[in-house]
């Protein structure tokens, strides 16, 4: 390989990373506040961010906990009775389709409504769908910092007659065991396509795709 070829390959890689980064950013923030951190597909997600959340068993969850296992991250809130149960049911079906292979996956449900979603509420709620799905919440400022570093949009919307609901990103993030964002899922994708994406995560960080 000549130096010219190598340079061409490297610049192409930079181009792909830039396009992928801006697509993710654009998808995460239509009309809303722009996340301060652009997730860079070449780096572990939330690398260098500082936040501390709590999982449903009251254990700390920080950026250092993202690597380790292939992770499926769903975002929503427990007082969302229409679309969040659909997303969690989609992930529960995905785990079932994977059978024993699914055991290596860490499915997480991160709340965009930490004010109302305590660790205990998150535990009860996620267990309705699959006991393997773990809830993650935290102090509102910590949750906001985490969502920002993950490229997830959320906004509180007051409702008539008091109370509020949350607008939020629909994207499901797929992280490999090195904590890098490998792919995303949309609940409208066919189950077989979702299984193939997760199988690529299970193949490990070095595997293509």
């Amino acid at each position: 390989m000549t130096l010219r070829h190598l340079r061409l390959i490297l610049w192409s890689a930079v181009g792909v990373a830039l396009v992928a980064g801006s697509v993710l950013l654009w998808r995460a923030s239509p009309g809303g506040p722009v996340p301060a951190t652009r997730p860079d597909p070449g780096r572990p997600l939330a690398e260098g961010s500082r936040w501390q959340l709590l999982d449903e068993r009251n254990q700390p969850f920080t950026p250092a906990d993202l690597p380790g296992r292939p992770t499926v991250m769903v975002f929503g809130f427990t007082q969302c009775p229409d679309v969040c149960p659909t997303s969690l049911s989609y992930v529960a079906n995905l785990l079932r389709s994977l059978g024993p292979r699914g055991e290596a996956i860490r499915p997480l449900f991160l709340t965009v409504d930490p004010e109302r979603d305590t660790p205990a509420v998150m535990a009860d709620y996620t267990d309705l769908f699959d006991p393997r799905i773990h809830g993650v919440t935290g102090a509102p400022d910590q949750m906001a910092a985490a969502l920002k570093s993950l490229g997830i949009f959320s906004r509180k919307v007051p409702q008539d007659g008091g109370g509020y609901t949350m607008d939020h990103s629909a994207t499901i993030l797929l992280l490999d065991s090195s904590g890098r964002l490998r792919s995303t899922l949309d609940i409208h994708e066919e189950a077989e396509a979702a299984v193939r994406k997760v199988e690529r995560l299970l193949a490990g960080p070095g595997a293509p795709g």
Binding site: R27, A28, P30, G31, G32, T78, Q79, C80, P81, D82, V83, P85, T86, L88, S89, A92, V121, D124, Y125, L128, F129, F153, V157, Q159, D160, G161, G163, T165, D167, H168, S169, A170, T171, I187
Partner: protein, 152 residues
Amino acid sequence: MKSILTAGAVLLAACALPATAETVRAGDLSIEQAWARATIPSAQTGAVYLTIRNGGAQPDRIVALEAPVAGHATPHETKQDGDVLRMAETGPLSIPAGGALEMKPGGTHIMLMDLKGGLKPGQSFPLTVTFERAGTLAVPVTVGRAGAMGPE
């Protein structure tokens, strides 16, 4: 012979019924497949889905909703705007003449707010629907699993 015919008629009638829940009729309207999803006991919100068919020549619309399990019941809609999911109250839901209003997850639903003790799988409750033309009727709603995607 007569008993065979009778048995046949009963079988046909049974086939004509939807597989789930009962169909409730009021005037030109028929309401099918009213179902809800189970929630955690402390849940404040829930969602009900149903299908309303209008066999008449006049449109109708829902003017009021009420359920004993909740403080309020309101028509809601979820919309996906780019990557962002938004759920909001809609105006009165209408059922076109000769058409249907179909509710399903990710779209139009009846939002239950201020739930009193959540919803359990297998439970059922009446949803009182008042139509502008067809009047008021009680629709039995069956609660399915939390992850149900349709009536079970």
